[in-house]
Symmetry: none
Subunit: 413 residues, 2 copies
Amino acid sequence: MNAQIVSIGNEVVAGVIADTNAAYLAARMEDLGATVVAHRAVRDLENEVMAALTAACDSAEVVLVTGGLGPTLDDLTREAAAKLAGVELVEDERAAEMLRSFFAARNRVPHPVNLKQAAIPQDATCLPNREGTAAGFAMEYQGAKLFFMPGVPREMKAMFEDEVVPRLRERLTGGGNFRRTLLVIGMGESDLGAKLGDLMQRGRNPEVGTMVHGGIIAVRIIGRDKDARAAQEKVEADVRRIREILGHSIISEDESPLPFVVAKLLEENARTIALAESCTGGLICAMITDVPGISRFFLEGVVAYSNDAKVEILGVPEAILEKHGSVSAEAAKAMARGIRNRAGADIGLSVTGIAGPGGGTPQKPVGMVCFALADDRGVIAREERFGGSRTDIRDRAAKYALNLVRLRLLGVV
Amino acid sequence: MNAQIVSIGNEVVAGVIADTNAAYLAARMEDLGATVVAHRAVRDLENEVMAALTAACDSAEVVLVTGGLGPTLDDLTREAAAKLAGVELVEDERAAEMLRSFFAARNRVPHPVNLKQAAIPQDATCLPNREGTAAGFAMEYQGAKLFFMPGVPREMKAMFEDEVVPRLRERLTGGGNFRRTLLVIGMGESDLGAKLGDLMQRGRNPEVGTMVHGGIIAVRIIGRDKDARAAQEKVEADVRRIREILGHSIISEDESPLPFVVAKLLEENARTIALAESCTGGLICAMITDVPGISRFFLEGVVAYSNDAKVEILGVPEAILEKHGSVSAEAAKAMARGIRNRAGADIGLSVTGIAGPGGGTPQKPVGMVCFALADDRGVIAREERFGGSRTDIRDRAAKYALNLVRLRLLGVV
């Protein structure tokens, strides 16, 4: 099955945003065993949209379209699709009902202009949007199947997975690609590449590739075979080899993000945690509280930016701050013990460092961060240096801290 | 000047990587006063590359091409370009010399296959690559000017800025586009569209478009005119009208994110702040501490997930939690007063709510969030409902809270 991807929107074409939708859809289509032959991005202009759709239908059996389904005047994908099919736009009852519920849940009444988002070309099939107000739709044109989805990535992804994939499966004849992704922390991409060696050889099947994002490396293993089961077996064999090589550096084998992995370990070990953050400024708390149901394991966090807060809330002895400074292993240990005692938690975790851009010294440069973890086995401390911007340093430090909890709960440190 | 962008490479088309090159080039071309009319991405297949280049030349005076200039067999952009022009590939002396120096500087000798990267179509102009080994080139085809650059973003950017931009400037006749972006909070995209009305009319110049991301709407005004000054004046006139219509809903006129706007207001008003967060779980602290130098204004934050923490650290009376519950305006007020007193801050801000997915009741459904702000003028409280996922509810609540501080510092509430 050949597929093309068409992105509609002035912001994409003018480079205001990068077209991540196209990459997502292309990767998913390849996973499903389809071959993506091209992408195109065109502006919100009716004739250009129509021309792009027509050209895409020429060389593909499936055309995935995103964008231009908003409520404002500059959104005209549905008009262009209707014109292409030579039909009128009609309000879809189910979509209108969903739109009204969406607004009702937010104590709002839809503006008449919003109801435009419930209109689809006559005879098209409505694709409900459970994440937003723009209805999608599926239609056929010149023998190709077209799926129109919103440009908002969250809405697009939900609609693609829930509505488009099941409709494509009928057409995909088994076989295809099998993909696994392992998330790895604690090393650079080139070090990882050296460790994996021949697994990453070009042209090999499965194909093993790495991609780094926010200090975490995704190792992607894609196996291809006419037989779906054989593709999976090839991939699983690689996963076993990679597991042997990387050990505890693998955070998750199911793409679970680090905070979710830590939350699961807290639950499995029936441990509670409390946090004392300085340079990460609440980032670790924010990451861990993104996990639903975490309130059973996460008790409290203190963002102790000022020394006063460190002394008064966490009970850090002033003598330690005076002697070692607030960025020191000693201060971190006192903060970890302090928050553990204050909250009555099983684990107290602390971070203190210099996120920059100012505040660095030759002894304590920007990027230096101290960590401590206190539990019933004692207190451990770590000192690390991180590079990059303020945002990078805070992000890497927050993940390092969460990983320290993970390794402690696994009994590795 | 109309421009098209063509990206060549299996990785882009199959979604292994997102096409950030296209976004970079499009944004730079628009800045330079050109109009980007479309992007396309095609695979490393000679006939598909030739077809894409031909189609792009049909509707653009300038075509920017990236990718397919590597040393391996699957890179065939230069072969496709030569075939299109009906000429042979010839080794460019300067490019070959640069390539040899590149390897020499790394104590390596180029493999014969590398010299392929110094070949360009006969009569094309070589575009030297100071960041890598692939030479770029410029050529004309059917009246359009084509620029071929490597796919590696660092190499592409250097070549574009050093080699392509100077060659385009001759053709750009002064004039061009002028762009402003206003960030707006506190309304839906459709409400905003209704308020802006005819400003968003299709085909109008300036073009006014909206894009929503994380509850914040970017209103983009792009004016086009042969005279650069006239373009700017058109845009500024629109900005004045939008300012009258939207008033304090405009967070910033220079794309400053909300936390930076709040930090600036704290500085201008010489006020300190302390935060008490429940459902947002540290997110507001994390957002505000992302601003460099914030430690002068942000004193501390408490993530009081448990009632114990609310009572012990913030001094919230147990009677309030028992009578009204921890998600109530009364609890929010006590938290705001409590953190203000504890920290000795000018402003105490609190958030307590139900982020879900569990924990909702008919009276207090998921998405209900209470806010309070305590300062020397008293205590104000707000109750809001937010929709979406747990992540969305937390994000919107954090921004609502920061906006409450902004409005208070502006004297609006």
